[in-house]
Symmetry: C2
Subunit: 384 residues, 2 copies
């Protein structure tokens, strides 16, 4: 398991001084770093049509972008290109463990692990992202420059699917070596150019915009056929100007919407379900035939351990200590009694369930039934 | 023009005592009532594929529903059926004038004019609606029963597309004659059975539900690519339970949504645009070729008058007396300076523009350009 080493910085200091504020180079953030996958394995993933991959190439100042799935990588030459594969945590359990050291930020804020391989000279060009990212240097060396957000930077498209940013002033300019970690907050321009064949691992975050939230809530109301209240106006006065939308009416419309946002249960249930939905393909493999609860109990009592499907989004919410626990898995909500908080935590806090955790899950018929269902959906699977 | 006669009731009394509260039979609400269309004309509309029409028939206790467009009405017999045509105001200017006496309720709350023809014995069966309605009796006589909202009433479907309600206690039970008007608030069970071949005109209202509002706002943000702010958490503390959606985070999410609802301009612009969108086909006829502004000026100075396209939704909003006027026509927003309030009122308050109104519209180049655009879109047209 990878262990994050912030050197002379405490986690609290990192959060207070850098998180969402300014970039930071963490030299030796992972001591004795071992790549969880090889460049060849990454190339192999990029052949899979379920996997999102792009190859970005620079030649004589112009940019080219090819989209996966790829058939081979011949013809790209020895330099100036980068292969980027999204959501590698969905497909490669060892690579997925790179997300774990960053779980001091809660699950729902974490997006995915992107992995890139760059030939010498390779990079995607200077650009901005809207989300925080930790970029881990694997094999090779890459020079990274990072600047502070700057409203005067101009964005442009050197290729229809590539958004870059004009030249920026760097506050970090360093050659990264295996195990070094670069933290980049949203809006900071950055540019990485490989000096040697390099692997880079991007632990990416997500932060819904207001538009996403309203879109998500509207979809939820539609899916669950929650109409809510209708506008009503028993106190209406005769209108002098039929064309006018009166301030009073608009205030009532707004009030009606605000009332829905004030509904604790609705907002909690919607948000958990919304934020736990997978955005990209999962490597779902339903066991065939399904397991019987008795079989599961037997395996788990014998010491089998369970892994959570890579990229599966899991979180829970408890409004107060006596309230039901709302557990959310891949967009579905499972209400659990307050006494089952430990169960919700095991399933969401940990990507693997060790023997003790598995024993907990077979202790009551309800838990056993539930984990049986989750295993039969392909959400958890036997590791040993 | 139809003139509403509330007899011994003032408009203020009607609004205070009945509107959205309890049903009311207004005997002789229109004195010397003349039908704006004939049963034959209505049948003709039901042949048009752009027009929404249904025919509901009862035979030996079972219900049948046929949907338009119809080819003929042979075979329906002499009794026990009703032909209903939606949004007749979109297709029949004379019928559309029946909406005008009800404009003491503002435009944005008015939906459309539905017209029904019933053979003796015809009706759609006892049912509830979610919206207010004024039902005007035209030719013939029909017995109407209306009850108060009652949670113990059961709804059922005697036909997949027909929702009826169990037997109810009537607080109004009357034979309606030409010019009588029945006001029915949302949720009041009602049942009309024709005693003679009858025309009924339903002035229908609309009242968006919370779901509609959130759906409408989400669509607007998408259409206008308004992302809004992203969630941010520069004050984050290390999470002890990565799976938890902390109360503080959920509160921030809610706060982010509330902030958008608190944006006066956004909400006003969205709501006007949302509520002025046509839900059904309009009888749009763009003039071909388009008019030049000079031609329009000439016609209007010579005394031509303009009519507004039937069913076109028009409204305006002014947040305060010095603010710009936001004019909304068929989903589009036109910001006008505060000094143009009169222009917005002419266009939205009145379904026809008389000579004085037309002179106002050619007085400045801006107004002339605007009315030229509206005429060339088919939204207003020359009546004479
Ligand atoms: O690995 C790369 O070349 C791109 C990394 C990056 O820019 C990011 O993760 O934001
Ligand atoms: O005209 C009819 O038969 C139906 C009228 C009605 O129920 C309504 O407008 O709500
Ligand atoms: Co980036
Ligand atoms: Co009705």
């Amino acid at each position: 398991m990878y262990q994050l080493d912030l050197a002379n910085l405490s986690l609290e200091q990192f959060l207070a001084e850098y998180w969402q504020k300014k970039p930071l180079l963490i030299k030796g953030g992972f001591q004795n770093f071992q790549d969880p996958l090889s460049a060849d394995e990454l190339a192999g993933l990029a052949l899979d049509e379920q996997v999102d991959a792009r190859l970005i190439q620079r030649s004589e100042g112009s940019w080219q972008l090819d989209e996966g799935p790829f058939e081979h990588f011949e013809g790209y030459g020895e330099q100036d290109w980068t292969l980027l594969v999204q959501a590698v945590d969905h497909w490669h359990p060892a690579a997925a463990t790179l997300l774990e050291p960053f779980r001091f930020i809660p699950n729902w804020r974490i997006d995915d692990l992107m992995v890139s391989f760059s030939a010498p000279g390779g990079g995607v060009g200077p650009h901005l992202d809207q989300y925080d990212v930790f970029i881990i240097q694997g094999m090779g060396k890459r020079r990274w420059r990072v600047g502070m957000p700057n409203a005067s930077l101009e964005q442009f498209c050197p290729h229809p699917r590539l958004l870059q940013v004009s030249d920026f002033q760097a506050c970090i300019d360093a050659v990264m070596e295996p195990g070094d970690i670069l933290y980049i907050p949203p809006g900071c321009p950055h540019d990485g150019i490989a000096l040697e064949p390099s692997l880079n691992y991007s632990v990416g975050f997500r932060a819904p915009a207001q538009k996403d939230l309203f879109g998500g809530l509207a979809d939820y109301l539609l899916d669950f056929q929650i109409d809510g209240e209708r506008f009503s106006d028993p106190g209406r006065l005769a209108s002098e100007s039929p064309g006018a939308i009166q301030g009073r009416d608009l205030a009532e419309i707004r009030q009606l919407m605000q009332a829905m946002l004030s509904d604790d249960d609705l907002i909690s249930h919607w948000f958990g379900s919304y934020i736990s939905q997978a955005k990209r393909e999962l490597d779902l493999q339903e066991p065939e035939p399904h397991y019987q609860a008795e079989e599961i109990a037997e395996y788990l009592e014998e010491g089998s351990v369970l892994g959570r499907l890579g990229g599966l989004r899991c979180c829970y919410q408890q409004l107060d200590a006596n309230a039901d626990v709302q557990l959310f898995i891949n967009g579905d909500r499972f209400p659990l009694p307050a006494t089952e908080l430990a169960t919700a935590r095991l399933l969401t806090d940990q990507p693997q369930l060790d023997e003790a955790a598995c024993r907990h899950l077979v202790q009551t018929p309800e838990r056993l039934g539930f984990i049986t269902q989750l295993i039969n959906q392909g959400y958890w699977y036997f590791i040993e």
